[in-house]
């Protein structure tokens, strides 16, 4: 039917214009998406990774008809997202991470009943379909309670159930596992994999690299509104080939020490991530240089925890791609 691709994006661009201030209005422009092109095949599970503000959510909203592209073109199942909105909306589901987006005063059941109406689920199928989905997301038994009393993860599960109500051909999952506990996240991954294996096309964004690595057939890494790398997880991992990674847990690393590490010969990238009281220092170096002793020398006098030297993972490849952009 129509196109061989489930999703096609061609040089998509989106600029946000905002006016701030009332007496003296100032115009600000944000180029959130700057020329994104990719295709997703039918039944493919495609990941969109990138730092906060990279333009992932904006790209999804361009594809799911909530936003109009400033320029460029996109099609979902062969239908233009700007003009054939009804055709596109019939075929897509959208799950958006977060606490909001549900009717707090209604029960989960009534939320699903309402959206089943809105999304055109045939009346005689609604009851069965809703029961199946409540079961699938593990809310069966709690469906009569008002959503205002739901925990964050329960809300997220309800979001997922809603996105699946009309068994969409193309499913957009924007950080679906946010706030979901590890066991439920694993079930969610299995559900997503099942959906893809039964022919649903999935476009997934996530900040969990392991999730992307496990699920996605292909991944696009997006930063500053542009695709920086695109390929299978294995292909992306190879981006970090020829590298070695040293990880150091430390307590109270001054900026000057980080800079010193950065300037060491053989070091390619250095990132610091705060993890509660400790900081995790990740140093990428050329594989043939052993920088571990140099790094530890620069950190002399600082209380250190675990020190580890290892092969790069998808996450390291991601860090390499993003910091090179």
């Amino acid at each position: 039917m129509g196109s061989e691709y489930a999703i096609e994006a061609e040089d998509l661009r989106r600029t946000y214009r905002a006016r701030t201030g009332w007496l003296r209005p100032r115009r600000t422009e944000v180029e959130a998406v700057r020329g994104v092109s990719f295709t997703v095949g039918r039944g493919e599970l495609f990941g969109l990774l990138g730092p906060n503000g990279a333009g992932k959510t904006t790209t999804i909203k361009l594809l799911n008809t909530l936003l109009i592209p400033t320029s460029g073109m996109a099609r979902v199942c062969g239908h233009d997202v700007e003009k054939e909105t009804r055709e596109v909306r019939r075929r897509i589901g959208y799950v958006f991470g977060g606490d909001r987006g549900l009717y707090d005063r209604l029960s989960a059941l009534d939320n699903l009943r309402y959206f089943a109406e809105l999304y055109g689920v045939a009346p005689r199928d609604q009851k069965r379909r809703i029961a199946e989905l409540l079961d699938l997301v593990g809310l069966a038994g709690r469906e009569g309670e008002r959503v205002e009393g739901y925990s964050r993860g329960m809300r997220q599960r309800l979001h997922i159930a809603r996105g699946l109500l009309h068994a969409p051909d193309v499913l957009f999952l924007d950080e679906p596992s946010i706030g979901v506990d590890p066991v439920a996240a694993r079930e969610l991954r299995r559900t997503v994999a099942d959906l893809a294996s039964t022919g649903t096309t999935v476009l997934l964004t996530t900040h969990y690299m392991a999730e992307a690595d496990e699920l996605c057939d292909r991944i696009a890494v997006i930063a500053d509104g542009q695709i920086q790398a695109l390929g299978t997880p294995a292909e992306l991992r190879r981006r970090a080939d020829g590298r070695r990674v040293v990880e150091v847990e430390a307590y109270g690393v001054p900026e000057s020490a980080v800079d010193a590490v950065r300037d060491l010969p053989g070091v390619r990238e250095t990132a610091v991530e705060a993890r509660g009281a400790l900081q995790l220092l990740t140093v990428h170096s050329d594989a043939h240089v052993d920088v571990q002793s140099d790094v530890l020398r620069e950190l002399a006098g600082i209380r250190l925890g675990r020190v580890d030297s290892r092969e790069p993972t998808l996450e390291d490849a991601y860090v390499a791609i993003v910091s090179a952009s």
């Binding site: 008809t65 909530l66 909001r100 549900l102 009943r113 309402y114 109406e117 809105l118």
Partner: protein
């Protein structure tokens, strides 16, 4: 495993199965009509429970029944004092007007509260007719308004000793229903503005006050400047109140029919305006990304 359960599991549909076909396939247009009707009624009712803030018994009785009744009594006694018009003028007019609070605020909530819950995007992702979705939401509010008007009229008439001919009751019900429906669409039009402007509640508050002044319910139209009468003629309630007064006076349905027709016309006008505004603001929201920016 017993035989029936084996049979049941054998025919259990898989999770992502297509819907089973109907035995007699009704005409396509007929099915579409039924589906739209269902979206309006079932959908409208759920949306009412989701979005109307005043459904708790306390809020409902206090805000929508007791408050308006005292307003009716206030104007009736003021009218007696000033001897501008008789009891019937105030009681019938104010009873029709009491529907406006639930309808105007309800209609506004039906759109503007979507923002509060962050659900608007998910509603707009529906492939179904905006007209059916949002008109359907007006129906429960109009019913609500009608109920309130009936209760206030009954209570007011009993308390102040107003006699209404029994033969006038069906017509009165019709007039109050027309007023409530027109008022609901008026509220939906204001609610549509909520897609574009953050502070739409200001507009609703002003609108309720304007209805009190301009519909001729408490100040006879003859006592208002010409431009106010003109504005009043374009507002809901004005013509419904006039029709209701004629009916309560025993003039009969024929005498009330022109005013009733005008009220329905005003209501249809707002119904169309609401749909047009919703359409414009939806398109604009896709261009300006204004849905979640507010």
């Amino acid at each position: 495993m017993t035989f029936p359960s084996l049979l049941a599991s054998a025919v259990a549909p898989p999770l992502f199965s297509p819907p089973t076909p109907h035995r007699r396939r009704p005409h396509r247009r007929e099915r579409l009509g039924m589906k739209t009707l269902r979206l309006m009624t079932v959908g409208g009712t759920i949306a009412y429970r989701a979005l109307f803030n005043w459904t708790t018994p306390g809020m409902f009785i206090g805000t929508l029944l007791v408050g308006p009744l005292f307003q009716l009594l206030f104007f009736a006694y003021l009218g007696r004092q000033l001897q501008v018009a008789d009891d019937r003028f105030y009681i019938v007019g104010n009873a029709v007007l009491t529907a406006s609070l639930a309808c105007v605020f309800g209609g506004t909530m039906a759109v503007a509260n979507e923002r509060r819950y962050g659900t608007l995007g998910h509603v707009l992702l529906s492939p179904r007719s905006r007209t059916a979705i949002f008109w359907g939401r007006v129906i429960p509010y109009a019913g609500n308004g009608l109920l309130i008007a009936v209760v206030t009229l009954t209570a007011g008439a009993l308390l102040l000793g107003l006699r209404i001919p029994v033969s006038a009751l069906p017509g009165l019900l019709l007039a109050m229903a027309a007023g409530s429906l027109a008022c609901g669409f008026f509220g939906l039009t204001l609610g549509a503005l909520g897609l574009r402007f953050r502070d739409v509640w200001v507009v609703s508050n002003v609108a309720v006050a304007l209805l009190l002044l301009l519909t001729g319910v408490n100040v006879p139209a003859a006592g208002l400047p010409g431009w106010m009468v003109t504005v009043g003629n374009a507002l809901p309630i004005t013509h419904a109140a006039e029709a209701a007064r004629r009916l309560a006076a025993g003039d009969g349905l024929a005498a009330a029919a022109p005013a009733l027709g005008q009220e329905l016309l005003v209501g249809a006008g707002y119904a169309a305006a609401a749909v047009i505004l919703l359409k414009i603001f939806e398109v604009e929201s896709r261009r300006r990304a204004s849905l979640d920016a507010l």
